[in-house]
C-alpha cells in the first residue's frame, strides 16, 4: 500500500513536469527566436546556443506599426471593458436583486451570447457598419467587443451580488439612502473582487480577439492580433525573428496580468459556475 502510494506520487510529479515541459517549450522557443539574428532563426539544425541580440525588438518598435497597433488595441480593450462594465454591472445587480417575470429567461439569453459563433453576426455587422459609418472605427470594434464580453460581466457579477446579503441593501434603504446610493456606496465596494475578475478577463477577451477585428477594421484601426497575423507574413517567407519579438511584446502584458490575477480567474472562466 505504502509503496503504491509512493509510486503514485512519483508518477504525478513526472506527469506534471512532462506536461509543463510541453506547455512551456513554445513559450521558451519564441523567446529564444526573438533574441536571434536573422540567420540564426532559420538555422538547420535549430540553434539553442547563439549570441543574443535585441535588434529584433528595436526593429519592431522602430520600423513597424507595432506601437500604433498596441495603442489601437489598448483603446479598443479599455473602451470595451469600460462600456461592458458600465452597462453589465447594473444589469447584473438588477437581476440579482429584483424579481421580475422572465428573469431566468433573460439571464439564459445573455449567457447564450457567450456561446454565439461570432461569424453569424459578422456578415450583418459588415453591412450595417458600412451603412452607418462604423467600419474601420474604434467605436465599431468596441461595440462588437461588448458583445464578446457582456455575458461574462453579467453572469459573474450576478454570482457576486447574490452572495451579498440583501439585508444590507434593505438596511441602507431604511436609513434613507436612495437605491442609486445603496448600489454605489454599499453593494459595489463589497463586490470589488468580482469587478477585478470581470474587468481583467474582459480585457483579455478583447485584447486577444481576432475575428471581429479582422472583419470590421482595416487601415485606420489595426489591433495587435490583426497586426501580428499580417505584418510579418511575406509572399515567400515569414520574418520569424521580428514576428517572435512582436509576439512576446504583444502577449507579455496579458501573461503578467493572468499570473497576478490567477485566483480570480476560475470564477470568470466558468462564468461563475466554480468559485
Amino acid at each position: 500500500m505504502r509503496r503504491s502510494r509512493m509510486l503514485l506520487t512519483l508518477a504525478s510529479y513526472a506527469w506534471v513536469l512532462a506536461f509543463l515541459a510541453i506547455v512551456l517549450f513554445p513559450v521558451v522557443w519564441i523567446g529564444l527566436q526573438s533574441l536571434k539574428s536573422y540567420f540564426d532563426v532559420i538555422a538547420v539544425p535549430p540553434r539553442f546556443v547563439f549570441t543574443p541580440t535585441l535588434a529584433n525588438y528595436r526593429s519592431v518598435l522602430a520600423d513597424t506599426g507595432f506601437l500604433r497597433a498596441a495603442l489601437d488595441s489598448l483603446v479598443v480593450s479599455v473602451g470595451a471593458v469600460t462600456l461592458s462594465l458600465a452597462i453589465g454591472v447594473p444589469f447584473a445587480y438588477a437581476i440579482s436583486r429584483f424579481d421580475f417575470r422572465g428573469r431566468e429567461d433573460v439571464a439564459f439569453f445573455i449567457l447564450s451570447t457567450r456561446m454565439l459563433p461570432a461569424i453569424v453576426v459578422i456578415v450583418p455587422f459588415v453591412q450595417i457598419f458600412s451603412r452607418i459609418g462604423l467600419t474601420d472605427s474604434y467605436a465599431g470594434l468596441i461595440l462588437a467587443h461588448v458583445l464578446v464580453c457582456i455575458a461574462l460581466v453579467v453572469w459573474v457579477m450576478r454570482g457576486f451580488f447574490n452572495a451579498i446579503p440583501i439585508e444590507l441593501d434593505e438596511a441602507a434603504i431604511v436609513d434613507g439612502a436612495s437605491p442609486l446610493r445603496t448600489f454605489f456606496s454599499i453593494v459595489l465596494p463589497l463586490a470589488r473582487p468580482g469587478l477585478v475578475s470581470v474587468a481583467s478577463l474582459s480585457f483579455l477577451l478583447s485584447w486577444n480577439e481576432f475575428l471581429f477585428a479582422l472583419s470590421l477594421t482595416s487601415f485606420d484601426v489595426r489591433t495587435l492580433p490583426v497586426f501580428m497575423a499580417t505584418e510579418f507574413i511575406g509572399f515567400l517567407a515569414v520574418d520569424w525573428a521580428r514576428l517572435s519579438a512582436a509576439g512576446i511584446m504583444a502577449t507579455l502584458p496579458i501573461v503578467v496580468m493572468v499570473a497576478v490575477l490567477q485566483r480570480h480567474l476560475v470564477s470568470g472562466l466558468s462564468l461563475g459556475a466554480v468559485k
Binding site: 513554445p26 454565439l116 453569424v120 486577444n208 490567477q262 476560475v266 466554480v274
Partner: protein, 285 residues
C-alpha cells in the same frame, strides 16, 4: 416599491438596448440574408430555402461539417482528458510545488493568433524546431500543417495546447472544493485508488465536468484564429471548418447569402447545445 421598480428598469435598459441593436437586429438580418438572392443593382429577391439547399447539398459543406465535427470532438476530448489527469496529478504534489499551477495555465493568456504563428514556425517542415529535433534523433518529421492527412490533426494539437490549461484550471478548482469525508469513508471501507476515483471523486465532480465539457465544446466549435493563422483551411480543404468556410464565403467569394446560411446553421447547433448548458449553470447558483 414603485421607485424601486423604476430603478430596476433603468438598470436593465442599457443592456437591453445593446442586445437588441448588437444581437437581435443582426441575427434577423442574417436570417433574412439567408432567404434572399442578392442580385447586383436590383432589389433582393426572396429565394425560399434555395440558399440552404445549395449550401447543404454541396460537397464543400459536407467537408466543412465533417472537419468541424472531428476538430470539435477531438480537441474537446483530448484537452479534457489531459486537463483532468493533470488536475488529479497536481493534487498529489506537495503544497509548495503546487505553485506550478501558474506556469501550467500560461497558454490561456497567449493570444491565439500568436500561438498559431508560433506553432506554425515550430512545425515548419524544413526549418522548424520540431522536425529539427526529430531529425537529430534520426526521424524524418512529417509536413505537419502542409500534409493533407495531418493538417487537421495538427490544428487539433495546437488547440489542445492552448485550451488544456482551461480544463485543468476549472477541474482543479472543482476538485479542491470537493468535501473530504466521502473519500475518507471510501478509504476506510477499503476502496483502492481507482475505485475511489471512479466511484466517489468523479461522480461528485459531475456538474463541474459537464460545465467544462460544454464550454470547451463551444469554444472548439467556433475556433477560428489558429486555423486561420496556420493553414487557412488548407492544404486544399483538408482543414476547412464551418466557420472558416463562412469567413471565406464572406470575404473571399463575396457571397453574403451563403455565408449567412453557414452562420445560421452554426447558430442553430449552438442553441441546441446552449440550453442544457444554461440549465446546468443556473442550478449551480
Amino acid at each position: 416599491m414603485n421607485t424601486q421598480r423604476r430603478f430596476a428598469y433603468w438598470l436593465t435598459l442599457p443592456v437591453t438596448v445593446a442586445l437588441l441593436a448588437l444581437l437581435l437586429y443582426p441575427l434577423l438580418y442574417a436570417a433574412w440574408l439567408s432567404f434572399v438572392e442578392l442580385v447586383p443593382r436590383s432589389a433582393p429577391a426572396f429565394a425560399g430555402v434555395a440558399n440552404y439547399a445549395r449550401v447543404v447539398g454541396s460537397e464543400v459543406f459536407r467537408i466543412a461539417l465533417v472537419n468541424t465535427a472531428f476538430f470539435t470532438v477531438a480537441s474537446t476530448a483530448l484537452s479534457f482528458l489531459l486537463g483532468l489527469s493533470l488536475a488529479l496529478a497536481m493534487l498529489n504534489l506537495r503544497r509548495a510545488v503546487r505553485m506550478l499551477v501558474t506556469l501550467a495555465i500560461l497558454p490561456l493568456a497567449v493570444m491565439p493568433v500568436v500561438s498559431g504563428l508560433t506553432w506554425g514556425m515550430m512545425l515548419n517542415p524544413s526549418l522548424g524546431v520540431v522536425n529539427g529535433l526529430l531529425r537529430s534523433w534520426g526521424i524524418a518529421g512529417p509536413g505537419w500543417a502542409t500534409s493533407p492527412d495531418l493538417a487537421l490533426l495538427t490544428i487539433v494539437l495546437i488547440d489542445v495546447w492552448q485550451w488544456t490549461p482551461f480544463c485543468f484550471l476549472i477541474l482543479y478548482a472543482g476538485l479542491q472544493a470537493l468535501p473530504g469525508e466521502p473519500l475518507e469513508a471510501a478509504r476506510i471501507d477499503g476502496a483502492n485508488g481507482w475505485q475511489r476515483l471512479l466511484h466517489v471523486t468523479l461522480p461528485m465532480l459531475r456538474p463541474i465536468i459537464a460545465i467544462t465539457l460544454i464550454f470547451r465544446f463551444m469554444e472548439a466549435f467556433r475556433a477560428f484564429d489558429v486555423i486561420y493563422t496556420v493553414t487557412k483551411g488548407g492544404p486544399g480543404r483538408a482543414s476547412e471548418t464551418l466557420i472558416l468556410r463562412a469567413f471565406l464565403e464572406t470575404f473571399t467569394f463575396f457571397n453574403p447569402s451563403s455565408a449567412a446560411v453557414y452562420g445560421i446553421i452554426m447558430l442553430v447547433i449552438t442553441i441546441l447545445l446552449a440550453r442544457p448548458a444554461a440549465r446546468l449553470l443556473a442550478r449551480r447558483d
